[in-house]
Symmetry: C2
Subunit: 385 residues, 2 copies
């Protein structure tokens, strides 16, 4: 096991009716900015429940945070926060609203120049507005981690930042509030959570049995409950298990003390930035191709994955590894998430520009051994055609 | 899954050389009281490393916190904290030192009368001294939870309390600093961690696949690395996996959203209070007897435990359940921890007094369904003879 520091101070409220808990977690007298996306929270009962919980607070609203939240939109919220002297941010939505609100939290008090530098140049925030979250779309784990991914429309960049100040103080996870989500978002969420685990698990064996078994447990859970919660969206128990798995997939725990990859995410970000693929679609395309390209480098862990997650015990290690990649692809497809670039209208002629963008963003040494060069990434995309 | 709130704000530093991190976590200018047990931390290099890390702080020491830390000893530390206006407590030791220091932290500023009421009468602390921990004995999980068990010698009571203010601000887990521990303490630690998981897992099935798989992963890890780390104490990797498993066994995560038992602990506490058994010895005696007594009530989960943890797939569910209990007992014995009351010189004639004590402490409705009555506890002890 590698040395690590692990800290996750977010307080989680999980279950039916927990949205009322926001009232006890926001300091009395706070001027709250409630952030959200489109109007879906008004169609289900989430908006009403949050309003009810906040009835003793002064509340302003900022809506319109889009999927792959944009710097341009978020800076309008930053202006509002500054103009209105907001004390507390309450993000109500999925990963995009949460990520966007984290950026608002660090950007509003930022005095070091252009807040985009926090994403683009590693500028370090020294303070942040406190934020809480009401999760409505299980997928990204953003509700209890300190990471955010922000897109800048004007430059077609999609970049991440992370800082301890960006942890939500609390997060409410009410699976019931997610039951009315469209199937596409649920399928995307399952893929997203699955790939988050894979990025922290599918590297090379170190003796870290707890982390391995936790990761394998999350993957098996997603394989079990993903199809159920997609097919029977009204079933609370399967949805609850999915929500909890998605949170634990990226709260820092399973990745503590082990090598991590994240090449699939970095390559996938370019697909989203250039062609507008859903985040999960980009991951579903890149992961099987990357695992195939890296069959030798990841062979030992792939064999373990094959055996423990997919129960594949016949044949030699390489055969089982290849079968496990096939199973992974079939699993994503069974959820309705396509896994080939051509499914999204992207052809070989688009690869050079994608690789140029990857290079321009400094992604020249990806993966758990920093040996996924630009050439390797090109071969990954070619395998994904 | 049941509704739950989960919050664990303790920052963990894990690995070789991490003791130096205490210097960055304690506020500069703090007057620190370092608490510890006997002199073992001076025999290995822990004491020297802590002193080196604290060289820029004013440090007082309080030693002599005993196994099953006593109210009587801890109140001497409380007097010292008050007299010296201590700002920060740094516990250096195992579960007993940590539990004791948590009590010091809430007792020192307690103004509601006798601090023992925090354990005995549910008196609620309103403030606490901040505390940090350097763990030297993996077992109890106390380094990242908010629970403590305190014994009062004068009344032969052993009682628990828990409060959010009792979470350590940080904890250092350096597996290397545990390599010189006596085998008995390692064996006890493996049993203790194992039973902590069982108390949160072995109840009745609810649809909580993440919690189940995390618990089963911890149990399998302890079964795998426990014997290795006992046999080859110099092997860092196995010890590191054990340390991490022991922490996660009782940090609130695996028990969130599922029924919990804790009858084994409550009955075991009486054995320690009356006969001085090590905490882990008391658990090793009670657990197999309790599982046997509760074979019907726990049958479904026992069958799952048999299959997933012990790989027992032959025979009907009841047969597998009984085999799994045998395997559990054999595992404890293989570590050198005896599992029968007679091994500790306790006979049938001692059972009535133990049951009287349990009743006097209000333990009349234990277990995940509160149906472990005093009569059931008597039968458990009789099965443990």
């Amino acid at each position: 096991m590698q040395n690590f520091a692990f800290h996750n101070p977010t307080k989680l409220y999980f279950g039916r009716g927990q949205i009322a808990s926001v009232a006890v977690e926001i300091p009395l007298g706070s001027k709250v900015l409630m952030t959200y996306g489109g109007g879906s929270i008004k169609a289900n009962r989430v908006y009403a429940q949050v309003q009810e919980a906040l009835r003793d607070f002064q509340v302003l609203e900022f809506s319109g945070i889009e999927p792959n939240p944009s710097f341009e939109t978020l800076m309008k919220a930053v202006e509002l926060v500054r103009a209105e002297s907001i004390d507390f941010l309450l993000a109500v939505g999925g990963g995009s609203v949460l990520d966007g609100t984290k950026f608002i939290a660090v950007a509003a008090p930022f005095q070091g120049g252009d807040p985009w530098d926090i994403c683009a140049k590693g500028a370090v925030p020294v303070c942040a507005l406190p934020l809480g979250a009401v999760l409505t779309l299980p997928a990204t784990g953003s509700e209890s981690n300190n990471y955010a991914v922000i897109s800048r429309l004007s430059t077609r960049e999609k970049l991440a930042f992370g800082h301890p100040l960006a942890f939500p103080r609390f997060a409410v996870l009410d699976p019931e509030s997610t039951l009315s989500l469209p199937k596409r978002q649920i399928a995307n969420g399952v893929v997203d959570a699955f790939v988050h685990v894979m990025e922290q698990y599918l590297t090379y064996p170190t003796f870290a049995p707890v982390q391995d078994q936790f990761s394998e447990g999350l993957l098996r859970t997603l394989i079990e409950v993903g199809p159920i919660t997609l097919r029977e969206p009204e079933q609370y128990e399967a949805r609850a298990a999915f929500v909890w798995a998605a949170t634990l997939a990226l709260n820092g725990l399973i990745g503590a003390g082990v090598p991590q990859d994240w090449a699939t995410h970095m390559i996938g970000h370019e697909l989203t930035a250039a062609f507008g693929l859903d985040h999960a679609q980009s991951l579903a395309v890149v992961l099987p191709a990357l695992l195939t390209e890296r069959l030798d480098a990841k062979g030992d862990k792939l064999a373990q994955y094959a055996e423990r997650v997919w129960n594949l015990k016949e044949g030699d290690a390489q055969t089982r590894a290849a079968q496990a990649i096939d199973h992974t692809r079939t699993f994503f497809e069974s959820l309705g998430v396509k896994t080939r670039l051509k499914d999204y209208g992207i052809g070989a002629e688009n690869v050079p520009a994608l690789i140029d963008a990857l290079e321009a963003h400094g992604m020249k040494a990806l993966g758990e051994r920093q040996d996924v060069t630009v050439d390797v990434s090109r071969r990954v995309l070619e395998r994904a055609l």
